[in-house]
Chain length 301, copies 2
Amino acid sequence: MKLTILGCHSATPRTNTNPTSQVLEIKNHMFLIDCGEGTQVELRRNKIKFSRIKHVFVSHLHGDHYYGLIGLVSTFTLLTRETPLHIYGPKGLKEVITLQLKLSDSWTNYPLVFHELTSKESELIYEDDKVEVHTIPLDHRIYTNGFLFKEKENERKLDINAVLNANISVAYYRKLKQGADVENEDGVLIKNETVTTSPIPSKSYAFCSDTVYNETIIPLIKKATALYHEATFLEKNKDLCKRTKHCTAKQAAIIAKKANVANLILGHFSTRYNGYDDFESEAKQEFDNVFLAKDGKVFEF
Amino acid sequence: MKLTILGCHSATPRTNTNPTSQVLEIKNHMFLIDCGEGTQVELRRNKIKFSRIKHVFVSHLHGDHYYGLIGLVSTFTLLTRETPLHIYGPKGLKEVITLQLKLSDSWTNYPLVFHELTSKESELIYEDDKVEVHTIPLDHRIYTNGFLFKEKENERKLDINAVLNANISVAYYRKLKQGADVENEDGVLIKNETVTTSPIPSKSYAFCSDTVYNETIIPLIKKATALYHEATFLEKNKDLCKRTKHCTAKQAAIIAKKANVANLILGHFSTRYNGYDDFESEAKQEFDNVFLAKDGKVFEF
């Protein structure tokens, strides 16, 4: 599981800071998460092949999370893309993208498939044989979702000596990996756990931005391999959180601790600060495995 | 008159090329012309104060000419701007900008004034005591205008010796500068041209992008101090011009020659080329004063 941060700053793009966008590589997918202005340039800078992006997840319709999407959609057209692009995001996204295509008297030469979100409950919005994506309803100034990307449970591992000793036909190995008990060549029922071992734990990534401190997300992100949680402010500016519906680094860390995640990545930093070391130290008072997002940084889990 | 090129490339932004945008400083105005994705960052990079921009002129609704506008409008809000922003561009621009503001459940805290264009004839769209802005109808795939920025005629200069010899009252100097004949202290009518000299020639800048080769613009841009004309292709790719409704460098130079402008700036280069020297040499076969636009380059006239 590999996460590339294209942008991790709030509000407006500057010469040295990009608004929110990231790419999660998981089970051969390249999921684009949020798409602030300039995302297509950051994708190029980070040498991520446009053609590998087939799904875009948009948290909410504040500009720093999606103003780059129409440019990316248009560029895909100019590059004569044919592969469908699936866009998951709040209701309204389809209208604004299609209006801009209409005004330019053009359409994509590839299928553009919108999956508009309106539910305030967590939903399964994407699924294949290897991965699931669920929404994480967040509490921000407008309708907002985080996203939980989960590898499906891996297959159990055969204890090959035990399997051979138990005299099980090769034809049943598949069933064993899926966790079933099987009959051996002598007609005896063999309990699965006696001939297999636990699967490699499946990984998960929770993206939670933007949101006010909100404990209701904890059951949804429980034990995630990595949690990206917004930390727009430091505790010294906590008074700004209530009005803007953002979090401090400390609050993000408390969520990480309560959800018992393995790793916490902080991002969506306000550009009012000159550096972000204080975000790390503030969060580490609550939680150990804290990392700071940085434009262009790659995390591998 | 000072022109700063923020971006001069066609189609999609890349790590080292920006789509169309430029700032014209004329008679204390800072006119923003077109606003491709990333314009707000290029404004910062070129140290142009956001607060000085009060008028934005959008040629047409292809993304490489306006996808950066909504980001700029939003950033002005975050920076608590109060000064009105006037936006001149094709019908539809208001709908797309206001839809995005509505979806983010926000509005600007400054007046946003749209001047939507629909005419196929040249129009005077802005005027004050020093400057006029006229549209230049262009022929592109969708409704497109260039813009002519003109200083108003300067005042005639007094030939102070001649004025004193003619025994004219100081009270009439203003009228003389404005070109009127006046009576002197002895009641004799003094012809204006005997006591004044021609004014400093007023300057003008014509922005023409995007367009196919189109001689109907020539009377509108006649004798401009500077003409920015699109030159998307070289003659060797001339076959692409007809379908895409763009020009070659040579065609731009022919327009410059026929319009008898003082200087020609070429831009809107296709990113298919590795360098742009051939654009200059191709154009110079038709016209001498050719300059190449370049992101970040400043022209003073």
